[in-house]
Point group: C2
Chain length 180, copies 2
Amino acid sequence: MLVLCTGWAFRYVQLSDGRRQILRFLLPGDVLSPATIFEKNYPSWVKSLTDVMVSGFSRSEVRERCAIGVGAPSAVASTSIAEMRDVSELATVLGQCSAEERIAYLLLRLMSGIAARNVIREHRYPFPLRQQHIADAVGLTPVHVSRVFGQFRERGVLTISEGVLTVFDVPELERLGSLR
Amino acid sequence: MLVLCTGWAFRYVQLSDGRRQILRFLLPGDVLSPATIFEKNYPSWVKSLTDVMVSGFSRSEVRERCAIGVGAPSAVASTSIAEMRDVSELATVLGQCSAEERIAYLLLRLMSGIAARNVIREHRYPFPLRQQHIADAVGLTPVHVSRVFGQFRERGVLTISEGVLTVFDVPELERLGSLR
DNA sequence: CGATCGGTTGATATGAATCAACGTGCGTGG
DNA sequence: CCACGCACGTTGATTCATATCAACCGATCG
């Protein structure tokens, strides 16, 4: 079982015709592929976005700690649950929401993840994603992602530049991106 | 923990503006909401499609059996894994695939589930879904679902009528609906 | 200095949504 | 038994959101 220690990465599915779906962006502390806790050969593709450090627990180690019971069982359970909830939400967003809503949703999810690990001032979030990543995560074209960001900029909702996401209008972003 | 004994049902997410995403169709033997095995208050909506029978295991019962270890731990693990895989696949299909591909995918998934529980002859599958359900599952409009079915019919791929799905051209359906 | 990458922008095409009408079967109440 | 309403599916016309194609720009890098 691998855990991301520093840097950004993402887990994804690759179709043979080149399309890919990014299922989750991984931040420090995230398990690369929670399903492998239960099943050894669960196929799962991960790529790094930035420089990255990873550390590993063996499955037997995890099982042992679960047996002893020092919080490991609940830790395993809660990351599995979080995983389930996240993917279900993603499916819901992809099935039901417009381009704007999808992107807003993704940004909010990322923001809360980033904020949990960094001190955020003035709504400026470190943001290493390329528009291609966003496109692959929300099922849109990079050029359409660019257009949506253009609109967000014009409307004074947010900007991204030089690896920093700056949000001016959090309520508006939440209005669009929270699955009410 | 609730298990479906007879009949069809589905698990879904309801957004406050009326949109809903069907996450999974449930067939006999399926756990209504696997996440509740781990977390008591995991919110999860289920509706029945046909008349239905359900039976319940208490969480303590499950935990006990896991402790004794009569196959229960691996059963819990494998349904959780299957669940993860399914939702991830759904997200991938919703993010990357066209209307035809989405519907083909859904039908193939359902067919394998049905075939695992029934004797299927001449590719005729019992099929209680309304087009609205399909629409909510694959993120399309009911009228568009109707059009896609119309094309499938014209091309001699399949028909649905009177609660029976008949597939004439399985390879074509697989060409469209398997995430290669 | 040219090449490549990432993003932006415009023109156009296309897939799916929307709006609306219609048919059919079915249950319900008169 | 009939008439009506209603749910479900189909079909056509039109609109709208997003994709596609293409050109361009600035930064970065060998």
